[in-house]
C-alpha cells in the first residue's frame, strides 16, 4: 500500500513539474522586454572572452539574430518592431562579423533587413563594406553597397565605384560596369532598381529571403507599370492624370495593379506615383516609397 502511495506521489510530482515548467515559460514570453536587454558586449571584449572559439561564437551570435528575425517576421506588422530592437539586431550582426569577418550569412541578412523596414542603410553599408574588405573573392558585398547607395541613399556617384568593383570580382556580372554608367546618367530609377533586385533574387538560395525580395520586386513593378502609364497619359493628353483611375478610364492601362503592401495608389502633381497604405498599423509611408522619391 505504501509503495503505491509513493509511486502515485512521484507521478503527481512529475506532472506538476511539467505543468509548472510550461506555465513559467509562457509567462516569461509575456514579460515586457526593454532596452536594457539590448546590450551587446563591445567587440574587443567579445574577442577576448571568446578565447580560441571566435568561429563558433560568431555562429552563435548569428543564430541568435535569426531567432529574432524568425519571431519578427512572424509578427505581421513589421512596424511593430521597435527601434531599439533593430538597433540590437544591427549590433548583433556587427559583433558576429567582428568575431568572424568572413562569415557570409550575417552580411546577407544585414542586407536583406536593415536598409528596408528599419531604414538603417548606413549601418548596413558599414557592415557590408567590412564584408567586402575581408571576403575579397565575393562580388555580392560591393554589389549590395552599391545598390544601397543608389536605391536608398540616392548617392549615385558613390554607388558607381562599388558596382565597378563587383563587376571585377569572380562571378560578378560584367554588365554591372555598364550599369554603373547608366546610373551616372540618371535613367529610369524604378526599372534599374527592379533589375538589381532581380539580380539579388537570382543569387539568393534562402527561400524566405527570396520571397521577401520578390514581394519588393512586385511592388516596384506595379509602380513601374503606373509610371509608364502616367508617361503615356502625359504624352497623349498633355498633362498628368489626377488619379490612377484616370489611367484605367482613358484605357491607358487595363486595371490598377495590386500593391502587395496593401496600399492605394495616387498621382502627385509632379506626376510621381505614390502609394499609401490603408492599414492603421502602418501610418508611415513605406520605406520603399521613401526610397523612390
Amino acid at each position: 500500500m505504501r509503495r503505491l502511495l509513493i509511486v502515485a506521489a512521484l507521478i503527481l510530482a512529475v506532472c506538476l513539474h511539467a505543468m509548472a515548467l510550461g506555465k513559467a515559460a509562457d509567462a516569461m514570453k509575456l514579460l515586457p522586454k526593454d532596452e536594457s536587454q539590448a546590450f551587446v558586449l563591445p567587440s574587443p571584449l567579445l574577442k577576448i572572452a571568446a578565447l580560441e572559439f571566435h568561429g563558433i561564437a560568431s555562429d552563435i551570435l548569428f543564430l541568435k539574430s535569426t531567432v529574432f528575425i524568425g519571431s519578427a517576421v512572424g509578427r505581421k506588422e513589421k512596424a511593430g518592431i521597435k527601434e531599439w530592437e533593430w538597433n540590437w539586431y544591427a549590433k548583433i550582426l556587427d559583433a558576429s562579423t567582428d568575431l568572424d569577418p568572413y562569415f557570409l550569412d550575417p552580411y546577407l541578412y544585414a542586407n536583406a533587413f536593415l536598409p528596408w523596414e528599419p531604414g538603417k542603410v548606413e549601418e548596413a553599408n558599414r557592415l557590408l563594406e567590412k564584408g567586402s574588405r575581408y571576403r575579397d573573392w565575393d562580388w555580392r558585398m560591393p554589389f549590395f553597397v552599391g545598390f544601397n547607395d543608389f536605391f536608398f541613399l540616392h548617392k549615385d556617384a558613390e554607388a558607381a565605384p562599388f558596382f565597378m568593383e563587383a563587376s571585377r570580382r569572380p562571378g560578378g556580372d560584367p554588365m554591372l560596369a555598364s550599369i554603373a554608367a547608366r546610373i551616372a546618367f540618371k535613367e529610369n530609377r524604378t526599372e534599374t532598381a527592379i533589375f538589381f533586385l532581380e539580380e539579388t533574387v537570382r543569387m539568393t538560395d534562402d527561400q524566405s529571403l527570396k520571397e521577401l525580395y520578390e514581394t519588393r520586386i512586385q511592388a516596384l513593378q506595379s509602380i513601374a507599370l503606373l509610371e509608364r502609364g502616367v508617361g503615356l497619359y502625359k504624352k497623349k493628353f498633355g498633362r498628368f492624370p489626377s488619379t490612377v483611375d484616370d489611367l484605367v478610364r482613358r484605357n491607358i492601362i487595363n486595371q490598377i495593379p495590386v500593391d502587395p503592401y496593401g496600399g492605394t495608389y495616387s498621382v502627385a502633381l509632379d506626376g510621381k506615383v505614390r502609394s499609401t497604405t490603408s492599414s492603421e498599423l502602418e501610418p508611415h509611408i513605406s520605406p520603399l516609397m521613401r526610397s523612390l522619391h
Partner: protein, 271 residues
Amino acid sequence: MTLWPITLVTFKEGIRNRALYGITLFALLLFGATALVATMIPREVGKVSVDMALSTISFTGLLVVLFVGINLMAKDLDKRTIYTVLSRPISRSQYIVGKFFGMVLIIIATMGILSLLAMAVLVLMKMTFAADFFSRFSWQLIILADCLVVLMLILLSAVSFLFSSFTSSSFITLVLTIITYIIGESLSGVKALVESPAQAVGFTVSPLTRRMVEAAYYIFPNLSLFDIKVQAAHALTVSSSFVIWTVIYGLIYIVLSITLAALIFTKKEFP
C-alpha cells in the same frame, strides 16, 4: 633507454583513466550537436561544420590535459606512488621527461581518435549537402589546424608539469593551468587592446599597464598563435613561414618548461 618503461606505464595509466569515458561521451555529444547546428545555418554550412568540429577537438583536448594529465602527476605525489617509481635506478629528470612523453602519447592517441571522428562528421555533412554549401573547404587546412591544436595541448601539458613540480596540491596545479590557458588565449587580444589608440576603444591605457601586458606577453605562452580555426573554416591561406615559426616557438616553450620542471623536481624531497 630507461625513459620507455616510464613513458609506457604513464600512458597505460592515463589511457585507462575512467574520466576518459566521460570525456569521450561528451565529445560524441558535441559532434552530434555539430551536425544539428550546422543544418540550421542558411548558407555557410561548411564553415560552421568546420568551426564546430575543430572546436570540439580543442575543447575535449583541453579536458584531457586538465583532468587526465594533471591527475597523472597528482597521483604520484598525493598517493605516494612516487616511492615505487623513484626507488628504481632512474634520475629525477628521467622521471619527469619519461612521464611527459607518456602524456604526449596520451594526447596524440586521444586527439587522433577525436580527429577521425571529426573527419567522419565532416564527410557526412559534405555528403548530405550540395557542394555550394561547402564553397570554401580545404582538408589540408583542417588537418593543419588540428595539428596545431595538438601542439598547443602538448604545450599546455608541459606547463602543467612545470606547475606540478613545485606545488604539492593537484588543485593548485589545475587552477594555475586553467589561468595559463585563459591568459594564453586572450593575451594577444588584450595586447592589441592596450596598444590601440584611445579613441578606438574609448578609454586610455597607462604606460605601466602597457608595459605589464607586454611583459606578460613574453612570459606566458601565446596560445592564440596555434588557433587557425577561422582560417581553416574559410580555406584562407596560411603562410608556411607562420606555421614554421609557430611550431618552433611551441617546441622551444615545451623544452624550456620541461627542463625547468626537471630542475625544480630534482630539488624536491619526499618525506
